[in-house]
């Protein structure tokens, strides 16, 4: 266990420096807009945000900052991981708390529900882009971060169930654990 008690999301959020919320939202919006202009295909943009580049790469770096600032010790099981993501992670980086619901029977998949989402302030999806998952970056970030957690890196699949921009009442992400990879000794025995 870590020598210091893990800080709650609120405490960490209060102790770090903030950026203007509008700046953040508008920057994200400009980035998505640019991606749409460059790639033109809505599916391509969804993929970029989540898998290929943006979200995943942010996730693998974000995990170090999260661990450094929040002092959480290793989570014993997936349920604890889910709680930590929702309470501490989301609070720390976005300032909103998510709630964890809908655990399935084996405990390998859960839903994160966000009541309000700073990424989508001022955003309206036009009809031509109805297939766009605007907040797909969040799925990429969660996936990237969970994969880097040692010793048991978790391969997950993160999909959007409900999206306010498509008319639903909240944002819901479904996180499913595909498999856990235990740590191996990285050097081969060559001597």
């Amino acid at each position: 266990m870590a020598p210091l008690a893990p800080k709650t999301g609120d405490a960490v959020f209060a102790s770090i420096d903030h950026v203007n919320a509008e700046l953040f939202t508008l920057t994200y919006g400009a980035m998505v807009r640019q991606l749409l202009t460059d790639l033109e295909e809505v599916e391509e943009v969804n993929k970029q945000l989540d898998q290929m580049y943006v979200g995943y790469n942010i996730g693998v770096r974000l995990i170090d900052e999260f661990l450094a600032k929040s002092n959480v010790s290793r989570c014993v099981d997936f349920k604890e991981t889910a709680d930590v993501i929702a309470k501490v992670g989301f609070k720390m980086f976005l300032g909103v708390t998510a709630s964890v619901t809908n655990w399935d029977a084996e405990g390998t998949s859960f839903s994160l529900v966000l009541e309000d989402n700073p990424l989508v302030d001022f955003v309206e999806l036009p009809d031509t882009f109805q297939g766009l998952h605007y907040c797909n970056i969040l799925s990429g970030v969660i996936r990237g971060a969970l994969e880097m957690v040692c010793n048991v890196s978790m391969k997950t699949e993160v999909t959007w169930v409900r999206d306010m921009l498509h008319g639903d009442d909240a944002y819901e992400l479904r996180v499913k654990l595909l498999k856990q990879i235990p740590e191996e000794y990285p050097y081969k025995d060559d001597e």
């Binding site: 020598p3 210091l4 959020f13 770090i16 420096d17 903030h18 950026v19 203007n20 919320a21 509008e22 953040f24 693998v60 770096r61 995990i63 170090d64 900052e65 661990l67 450094a68 600032k69 959480v72 010790s73 290793r74 989570c75 014993v76 099981d77 720390m92 980086f93 976005l94 300032g95 909103v96 700073p118 880097m148 957690v149 040692c150 010793n151 048991v152 235990p182 740590e183 191996e184 000794y185 990285p186 050097y187």
Partner: protein
């Protein structure tokens, strides 16, 4: 860069404040060597301030250090008299299982160790009379996050070349007791 907090939502953090260190540093560095490894055993940083004896070449030395710590962590967890849940020796260590050692001391040096859940291992070798360095290692980890992880030009998993990081690191290490 200027940061304003209006209806602030998102965090951007500046340089973390260091835990109090009382050494002035003019008497020379108290730390001898620092290693930073990532989860795959790649040595991201090897920094020495004061090392008299070098027995192996750099890559052998780093492999040895990584291997030693990997085994030592596994060993200390298996020998733990307090925890009930232990695997067999040789089985990779799962999170939540067992304790983790954080330093060992010989008559000539003290080695302090910290591992983050993301696999970043920090090893600090100092003179044997130093106190507990867990706080210092935490601070160095914060520095790493600040100057390396947040640098968009840094490719994760490659050795660190950032001068800003090494300068800040040297400055901080000078203040260690």
């Amino acid at each position: 860069m200027q940061f304003f907090s209006g209806s602030s939502v998102v965090d951007v953090s500046l340089s973390p404040t260091a835990p109090p260190g009382t050494a002035t540093g003019h008497a020379g560095n108290n730390a001898n060597v620092l290693y930073i490894f990532n989860r795959n055993g790649i040595c991201l940083l090897y920094r020495e301030w004061h090392r008299l004896l070098r027995t192996l070449d750099a890559s052998q030395d780093q492999k040895l250090m990584f291997g030693l710590l990997f085994s030592l962590r596994s060993f200390t967890a298996k020998m733990d008299p307090v925890s009930a849940d232990k695997g067999n020796l040789g089985v990779p260590l799962l999170p939540g299982q067992g304790c983790s050692f954080y330093s060992f001391r010989t008559n000539t040096y003290k080695l302090s160790f910290m591992e983050s859940p993301s696999g970043i291992k920090l090893i600090l070798i100092t003179h044997p009379k130093t106190g507990d360095h867990r706080e210092s290692l935490k601070h160095i980890y914060n520095l790493y996050v600040e100057y390396v992880v947040k640098n968009p030009l840094y490719v994760t998993g490659t050795p660190i070349k950032s001068e800003l990081f090494t300068t800040n690191l040297d400055q901080y290490v000078k203040t260690l007791i």
